[in-house]
Structure formats: structure tokens, C-alpha cells
Symmetry: C2
Subunit: 418 residues, 2 copies
Amino acid sequence: MRLEVINTGTELLLGSTLNTHLGFLGETLLPLGLRVGRQVTIPDGEIIRDAVLESVGRADIVIVTGGLGPTSDDITRELIAELLNLPLEENEGVMRVIRLILSRRNRELNEQTRRQAMVPRGATVLANAWGTAPGLYLPPHPVAAAGGELSPHLILLPGPPRELRPMVREVVLPLLGSICEGRTVPRGMRNFRIANLGESQVAATVEEPITSLGDVELGYCARAGEVIVRVLGTPEHLAAAETIVSAAFPENYYSAQEFPLEHTVVDLLTRMGQTVSTAESCTGGLVAHRLTNVPGASAVFPRGYVTYANDAKTDILGVPMELLANHGAVSAEVCAAMAEGCRAAADTDHALALTGIAGPGGGSDVKPVGTVFIGLASRGHGQPVVEHHIFNVERETFKQLASQIALDLLRRRLIRLI
Amino acid sequence: MRLEVINTGTELLLGSTLNTHLGFLGETLLPLGLRVGRQVTIPDGEIIRDAVLESVGRADIVIVTGGLGPTSDDITRELIAELLNLPLEENEGVMRVIRLILSRRNRELNEQTRRQAMVPRGATVLANAWGTAPGLYLPPHPVAAAGGELSPHLILLPGPPRELRPMVREVVLPLLGSICEGRTVPRGMRNFRIANLGESQVAATVEEPITSLGDVELGYCARAGEVIVRVLGTPEHLAAAETIVSAAFPENYYSAQEFPLEHTVVDLLTRMGQTVSTAESCTGGLVAHRLTNVPGASAVFPRGYVTYANDAKTDILGVPMELLANHGAVSAEVCAAMAEGCRAAADTDHALALTGIAGPGGGSDVKPVGTVFIGLASRGHGQPVVEHHIFNVERETFKQLASQIALDLLRRRLIRLI
């Protein structure tokens, strides 16, 4: 089945809005055995007619996003009905939903809003529980402008991601499943997350054993401080691939879920009934921010410190002044003292400490920009462990990489303790 | 001039990589008077030939990204040369650059890499100082497959954003400027950033006065906690638009630069020689993280506290236990005590404090999820000011909005003091 996506929206072409639909659809439709073969972005307006017409004979399924709303440039519905020569009819069910939503928002029904209840004859309404504009499904119809050739299956969806995404998951996937039945090979998908290894290193290790499983597809996605190995295949192949990945990277493979590393760390701490605190210099609160992005973090993360200035390191964490004077704030010695001082001050089971030079200024020959020391102190574990890295990247990526190493240092200790 | 963009890359269609080229190009080309009229994403491989062929007669300029590298699926150069019936010739200048880059990386020249020096006859090499694959410019040529019609101006660029973006700024913009000379109306562009107002409120106020300036274009872009008003026009119109925006929103308009709010805050503090500290509960370090994203933040932000647990609020910030017991941790009273306690503990000129319920759990009828108190204490300003908001959004957006309000509260105080 040949699938194409048409995204309408002048804002996508002007650079004010990033097109996140394509990536979402590409990833979400993979398990059905569907690939996006081509994607087109066009401005709001009449060009949607040409874009759909061009897809006739070239695509079996076309997903159109945007242009279903109430404003004057939302004319996807009308132009596609015209192209397929289908009359528009007011749909009672959609009208009821619109009236209900408007009454809740204390707003009047006007002609513009009413247009959203117009449905081309023969179309299926795709319920939108998250907004007033429903989606539409139009099965193949003869297209006069294409010499009577049949149109692709057309699926029209509203543009806002908070409406489109749940609709795709709940309404469009089952619909596509029935359209494709017997014509594609549905497959399971797993995204194996591997912390703090490079893409080429991961690929060199798992590519051969996973592809030799047989009929699987394999892809990689490099993020700051992790690689995601994407595998599509049968349930048996996915289980075998997980065995390969976890045997190859017993320390670094941490999840087959969609959540980033901080979720694994908070989950482990929660299950173990343990706590962590943070003392951050160069990452300036990012480790704390990531931990507190996880719902329920408050039970395992009572407090954190951002100790940028030297006197913050001495006052709050009890780092000895001599240590700072002798080794400098960016040193393994100070990092260890920060970690142990943080753990003691916060009275937590573990403490992470980071000190480094995020740049662009502040570097020297001995300690270049990008230098970072990352320490972990744990109750009853004696001296803190301290890692030394140099990340030669710009400031925000530096912070991201350092925070990833820190969270992973804690994760690796926790899995040995559990 | 009708401009189209073709992005090649299977990874864009699979969802593993977000297409950021389109937004970048759309925004960067606007001042030349160029709009992207249509954009197509296609997989690596032969389909690039069809995509370029389709644009003949429809577009005056086509920018193609990707497919110029050394691997076997990088065949944009060869297929376009074939379509235009142009022989490929090894270019001495490109070869020299490639040899130089390879010798620096201690790598051998192989046949695959050598392909990158092949240039279609009559093409202009667009220097790439950031990688081995140069860009190419092909002026209009007759296309046999299109009945001899002339091809658009074709600009081929490498796919990696770190190579494409500087090339566009430094090489492609002047080239497009000469192609378009006299055929488009170049215009200046300004992005006016307005904190903590809604898009409809901003539009209702400035739309009429700005459009009535005459030949200007106006757009809006809503972000978490701010609206960007984009204006294109002559230098005189831009200056007039800035006057309108700053008069309409004297408190909320903060910058016409590309940087977010934390940059304005750090700049103001730096100019004033003042300091700030932070006491964060519900935002969990995000305010500190944003401040420390700004190079040079260490001079104005000596320290911050993440005080999730009640005992962290009492120990570190000196919030009285009775206050917590009587009003709860999420209250105006506790927020004020956190701000003042933070300022005193950190000995800074200002202190921001945030306490709230990020959710999804922890809400009540009186204090629903999304409730937040945001306080600012300043040396010599008496009682801290405390704002109360309810943001009915998911956890990460809640943190973003609360951090934006906090930074803006400080910014508004600073501009009154400066």
C-alpha cells in the first residue's frame, strides 16, 4: 500500500511552526507495515485540490492534515468534496457535538462553526473528542479531473497536534488496519534505549546478529547521550532482539519504553524506597529539572542545590576552601566533596554532583571548555565515584550530555543494588 | 518568484528525524521577499528525479536538501545531472578541499568520497566549510523529459543542519539575492517578543495599527508564555511597528532579538551589577536551568535551591513550620517566606520562589492541579510580591509556563529599577 501525507498550513512554510506531524505519523504507522512514501507541505487555500489530484494513481492512501477548522482559509473539506463531485450534507451527530462544546464554552453557534458539520456524501465521520472539527474518511471515488481514475483512500484530520495525535491512535489506526488487511505485513515495533554509547558503536555490535534473525527491519536514532535501536518484526523476533541488545549492553541498555532516562531512575528509586539529591554547578539545575519532570518525583527527590559560586559550594555543601584553592572548582576532588556534602546536607541515600566548564568562556589549556566531573555518593558506599569527561559541544548540548551521564551513573548503581 | 523545497531522506519519513530545514528556510528566505510555495519530503533514491521533474514549469527556484554525501543512497547529484543531460566532471577545487579534510582526519580517499567532487558541467560549486560535500547551483537548462521546458534554478545543499544552515546564510542568500534581483521585493523582518499575553489579545491590539502602516506583512507565533509578532516591511515600517508594539505592551514587550526571556533577564542583571537566586518547588530547577543556559550567567546567578520537601523549605529557606502547617506548602504565605528566605540565605539582590502543584496527582478542590504561587523578593523592597496562577496543562508545560512568569516578574522589576 502506497501512503502519502499532505500537510496544509501556511505557518509550516513560514517557519513559525515546526511540522511534527510527519515524524509522528511515520513512527506510528510503521507497525501496520505502512511507510510514508512522500510528504507534501502546502499553504492554506486552493492548492490542496492540486495536491490531492496529483496523488491519484500514485498513492493508495493519502492522509491530509489541517484546513478543517472554522476560519475562512480552512477549505480542505469543500475543495475535496468538489474534486470528488460529492455534495456536502449537514451531519446531525457532528452538529450535536459542536452545540455541546459551544454551550460548555458559553459561545454562540455561527455560520463559520456550522461549516464543520458539513460532511461529503459517503464519507465516514472520524470522531474528535478533543476539538470541534471532526476528521473525515472518504473511500475511493472516481475523479473526473483524472479521467475517471479512482481517488486514493482519503483521511482528513485536523491540524492541531493535541487533536490529531489521539485521533490517530484511537480512530485512524483501526481504520487503516481494516483498509490494509491482507495487503501489508503488520509488525511489532520496539525502541531499545541505550545510554551513553555512540551510534556507530551500537550499530557495529548489534547490526549483524539482529539482521540475521531473518525478516526484521532495523534503524537507529541518535539523541544527546543515547542511541535508540528501532526494530520491527514478529513478537518472536522482537524478543530475540531484546536478548541480543541486553546481552551486548548489559550496563547501558535501560528501557524499551518511550520515556527518557529520568523515568527509569525515578522508577528504580521508587521501587527501592530510596532518595537522591543533586549538587549542580555547570548543569545549573538541569538534572533536578529532568528528575522533576517525572510524575511522583517528589517521593524520591526531596531537594537539590545549584551551587554556581564557590561560596555556595562551601556554605551549602561544606566543600573545604583549601580544596577549592588547591584544585580549582572544576576538579575530581571538589566534585567528590560536593557529592558527599550534598548527600549529608540533604540526608538522602544518594547524591549526584556536577562541576565543569559549559563555555563558551572560562576554559584553559589544562581544563578546556567542555571539561566536566560527575560524582555519585551513596550511603554506606565509602568514597564517591567521580567520572571525568570532555564534551566539545555548545553550552546547551553540554548540559544535556552531562545530565545524561549523571543520571546514568545513578541508574547503574541502582540496578546493582536492587 | 515561485520557490519550492525538496527534502530527501528516508529518516525524515520514518519519524526518527524531525525536518527542521523547512522552518529554517521559510524564515531565512522571507526577508528576500521569497515564500516557500510547496515543500516535498521524499525517501533517498531515484524518486528525486520525479520530484524535480514535477517542479518544471511550476517553480522558478527549487532548493533540494540531502543526498550529496558519500554513501550509496546519496544519488541526488547523479540523477539531476542525468535529468538535465549534463556530464559530470571532477572538480579540482573540490578535490583539493576533500583531500585536505581527509588528511586532517587521517583517512584515505576512496571512490565513494571521490564522487563528491563530481560536478555537472555548467554548475557553480557552493563552498561547504563545514563538511566534505559541497553544494551545487544549476541555472535553468532545457529538460528533455519535460518537452524541452527550462528547469527551475536548482540549488542542491547537503542534509546535515550544521552544514546547511551556515551555507544558506553565507552562500545561498547572496546567490538568491542575485537571482531574484528586481523580481521580488526584499524586506526587513523583526520578531517582537511579548511575554505572558495570549495570541488573540496581542492580535486584537496591534493588528489594525500595524496593517494600516501600509505595505507590511504580519504574523503571530504562540509559544509557552509568550507571543512573537513577526513583521516584514521597509526599515521605516519596522521602526513604526516597534513603536506600536512597545506602546501597546510597555510591560510585556521585551525583545526584538531571537533569544528567549532568560537572556533579557541575565543581560539586565549584568548591566545593573545585580544578582538573583532561586527557590523552586514545583518547577524543580527549571528556572535555574533556563538562567544558566545563558553564557555568563555565573556572574549574576550564584546559587539556587530546589526545595521539593517541606523540611528543605524550613532547613534551607527558614520557612516557619507553623506557616507550612497553617497554610500548606502551596500558598501565598509560604511562597513569600520562600522568596525572602532564599534572598537572605543566598545574599542576592533578588530571589524568585515558586510553589505549586504540577500534577498529575496532588490536587484538591481548593488547590487544583495547576495551581502555582510565584514570588519575588528584592533587597530594600519590603514584602515580596506574590502572583497566583492556575495553569490547566500537563506537567512539563506547567513547569514551562510557571518559569516564564517568574522570569518575567523579575524582568519587569528590573526595567523599573534600571
